[in-house]
């Protein structure tokens, strides 16, 4: 067995381990997936960082006003990051008619969500802070379902919920809808082993005192919603996930915008990883699982892509040269015999792992479907597994390159 074969076997071992891990978490705890801790409706400040969201901000405020939560226990603080469109005037309209809606306009455009969010947190009056993106709509019962997690355990400082795709129309949005549903399912499984590593921007709830204690969101990090959880964890706090609470978020409708978003997420993730590398094997699950998991994923992605590129370049060169020689030799450039293939053990392993992956994806989608995730077509699922996920290593490489060169922005 050569080096390349060994590497392939290793990847398959890791893939099988991760799949087994999720199944070993899922089966004994499946009844706990959609648990929500009934909490008391205590006062919550909802901070909405907003930049050029004229089209969506109204819907978001409507969704927040429609939350099944006592009106007098909610304040909505929209922090406009010096938008160049009419976002601020839309919010002003709401502020005029709703006493619990406030608008704060940042003095400059910060170029990210962290600074306006911090401004909102500082201005907040209440002990619990919900943060929501300006293009996201939480479900009516989301806040009530989530707050109990904070009230029951003082060490819990952040709660996330299931982020689902809002009205997917284009093909790439439908693929993201699958991805979001699978991620939500996986994140809940990680929650069951206390390994939630992000509270995504679309809707998350925090304990204000904990946020203040750790110094609020990092304005230099491109994924402040990952970094804040790692920081809270490094201070001994925990993060939880409430799968029964949902928020619907607008997803990029075009490939270019999607790619750019993923680059940002990856750069932010890598920034966070570098920032917390000294916590490896320390600080509970942060060092025991989250950091190794992130590092390993990054390494395997980059190494796998390098190996893949090397092997395919070689194959391409052999094909190119043999075609060139065959043309010169006046012989066939392809024969039926060239197409016959005897599968190796690696091929069988790969096929079994792929089928297990498909099965797990359908399992996740099936479970999420019972809870309002719309049905995904088999074609979309296969495309998601075969093409969509394969783009990730390329995103990783681009992200690392941009991070190394310092050519990145929100």
């Amino acid at each position: 067995m050569g080096f390349v074969d060994f590497v392939f076997f290793f990847y398959m071992f890791v893939g099988l381990y991760m799949l087994s891990l999720f199944l070993f978490i899922y089966f004994p705890n499946r009844k706990l997936l959609f648990e929500d801790v009934k909490g008391k409706a205590e006062a919550v400040s909802i901070v909405v960082p907003c930049y050029n969201e004229e089209k969506h901000i109204g819907q978001t405020i409507d969704a927040l006003l429609a939350l099944e939560y006592p009106r007098d226990k909610i304040e909505i603080i929209v922090v406009d990051d010096k938008s160049s469109d009419g976002s601020a005037s839309v919010v002003r309209g709401y502020a005029r008619t709703h006493s619990n809606v406030r608008l704060i306009v940042n003095t400059r455009n910060s170029g990210g969500a962290a600074e306006p969010t911090n401004i909102g947190i500082r201005a907040a009056r209440y002990a619990y802070i919900a943060v929501t993106d300006a293009d996201s709509s939480p479900e009516k019962d989301a806040l009530l379902k989530m707050i109990g997690f904070l009230q029951r355990d003082e060490k819990v400082a952040a709660v996330t919920c299931a982020v689902l795709s809002k009205q997917p129309r284009t093909f790439i949005q439908k693929l993201q809808a699958i991805e979001y549903a699978v991620i939500a399912f996986n994140r809940k499984l990680l929650d069951l082993v206390d390994a939630v590593y992000v509270t995504p921007g679309p809707f998350a709830l925090y304990r204000k005192s904990a946020l203040v204690e750790v110094g609020l969101f990092d304005t230099k990090n491109l994924t402040q919603d990952i970094e804040i959880v790692w920081r809270l964890r490094s201070h001994g706090y925990r993060a939880r996930m409430c799968l029964s609470a949902r928020v619907f978020s607008t997803t990029p409708s075009r490939f270019k915008a999607w790619f750019k978003q993923r680059i940002r997420w990856n750069i932010g993730g890598t920034q966070t990883l570098l920032q917390y590398k000294s916590s490896l094997f320390q600080k509970g699950m942060l060092g025991a699982f989250i950091i190794p998991f992130f590092s390993f994923s990054l390494f395997l992605g980059l190494f796998g892509l390098s190996l893949f590129t090397y092997l395919w370049t070689r194959r391409f060169l052999v094909s190119y040269l043999s075609t060139k020689y065959s043309v010169y030799a006046n012989t066939a450039i392809l024969r039926l015999g060239d197409l016959t293939y005897t599968p190796s053990v690696l091929n069988f392993f790969g096929a079994v792992l792929f089928l297990l992956g498909i099965w797990f994806t359908f399992l996740a989608l099936g479970i999420m479907k019972q809870h309002q995730f719309s049905k995904a077509s088999i074609f979309s699922v296969f495309f998601y597994m075969l093409i969509y996920l394969m783009i990730y290593p390329f995103i990783m490489v681009t992200s690392v390159y941009k991070l190394a060169r310092g050519t990145y922005s929100w």
């Binding site: 067995m1 074969d5 398959m12 071992f13 099988l16 381990y17 087994s20 891990l21 199944l23 070993f24 978490i25 004994p28 705890n29 706990l32 648990e35 801790v37 929650d191 069951l192 082993v193 206390d194 925990r238 939880r240 699982f289 070689r314 060169l317 052999v318 094909s319 190119y320 040269l321 043999s322 060139k324 020689y325 065959s326 010169y328 030799a329 006046n330 012989t331 066939a332 450039i333 024969r335 015999g337 060239d338 016959t340 293939y341 005897t342 599968p343 190796s344 053990v345 690696l346 091929n347 069988f348 392993f349 079994v352």
Partner: protein
């Protein structure tokens, strides 16, 4: 509620993965072993056949039997072990654990070398027009150019085999399997690069070659048939 017991999932999954993966590797090993046994069975049969052919050749002088029949048997035998070799190459390429296929490859090379010698002897004794085309290649070649040449030569020789069915004994022979008899025979040709083709023990071709070039050595009528075949293909 955080299911703290859920943390056992980490080692449970590890144990489970090790067991499943180990079983998978074991099954893979047995699959390769079964393939090697298949090849071994076929090889054993081919060795008996070659021995049979050698005895047939010897009986030519003693019993005055038909030279043409003996040659036809060698041709048919060469065709058969050519196909067996293709199967062996495929199994060998797919083999990850079992090294016995590499050993079988050496035995096949010996068998094919013996066939070559047998064919030379028969051609000499029978004054036959049958051609021997020996294809010399590198077993497990890593170099890109060599692999590209080998892919091209394989296609070329498949053309030759189809066009000259019954006239050509095609013998693929790996040159780097550490067989002294093969090395000794090839030292007479002072070959510097592979793949190469030796036609009727006299003409050596390597590098960029054309189908027509091979045809010119094989056609009794100076390559006209080869040209006609190429024109019809065009």
């Amino acid at each position: 509620m955080v299911v703290w017991g859920g943390k056992h999932a980490f080692w449970q999954a590890l144990v489970f993965t090790v067991i499943v993966f180990g079983l998978g590797l074991l099954m893979g090993y047995f699959l390769e072993l079964s393939r090697a046994r298949t090849v071994q069975g076929v090889l054993f049969n081919s060795e008996i056949n070659l021995l049979d052919e050698q005895l047939s050749a010897r009986s030519l002088n003693s019993f005055n039997t038909s030279c043409e029949a003996a040659l036809q048997n060698v041709l048919a035998f060469a065709d058969r072990i050519y196909l067996e070799a293709v199967q062996l190459e495929e199994y060998d390429a797919a083999s990850k654990f079992d090294k016995s296929l590499a050993l079988l490859h050496r035995r096949y090379d010996l068998l094919r070398f013996m066939l070559w010698l047998q064919a030379i002897e028969l051609k000499r004794n029978c004054e036959s027009d049958v051609h021997t085309v020996v294809y010399l290649y590198e077993y497990g070649a890593e170099d890109i150019t060599t692999r590209a040449y080998q892919a091209t030569y394989s296609r070329l020789l498949t053309d030759v085999k189809e066009q000259y069915a019954g006239e050509v004994i095609l013998i693929p022979l790996a040159v780097n399997t550490d067989l002294h008899s093969v090395d000794l025979a090839l030292s007479a040709y002072s070959l510097e690069r592979y793949p190469a083709i030796i036609i009727d023990e006299t003409h050596v071709l390597s590098g960029m070659i054309e189908l027509q070039e091979i045809q010119s050595y094989l056609d009794k009528d100076g390559g006209r048939r080869g040209n006609a075949l190429m024109s019809s293909a065009a």
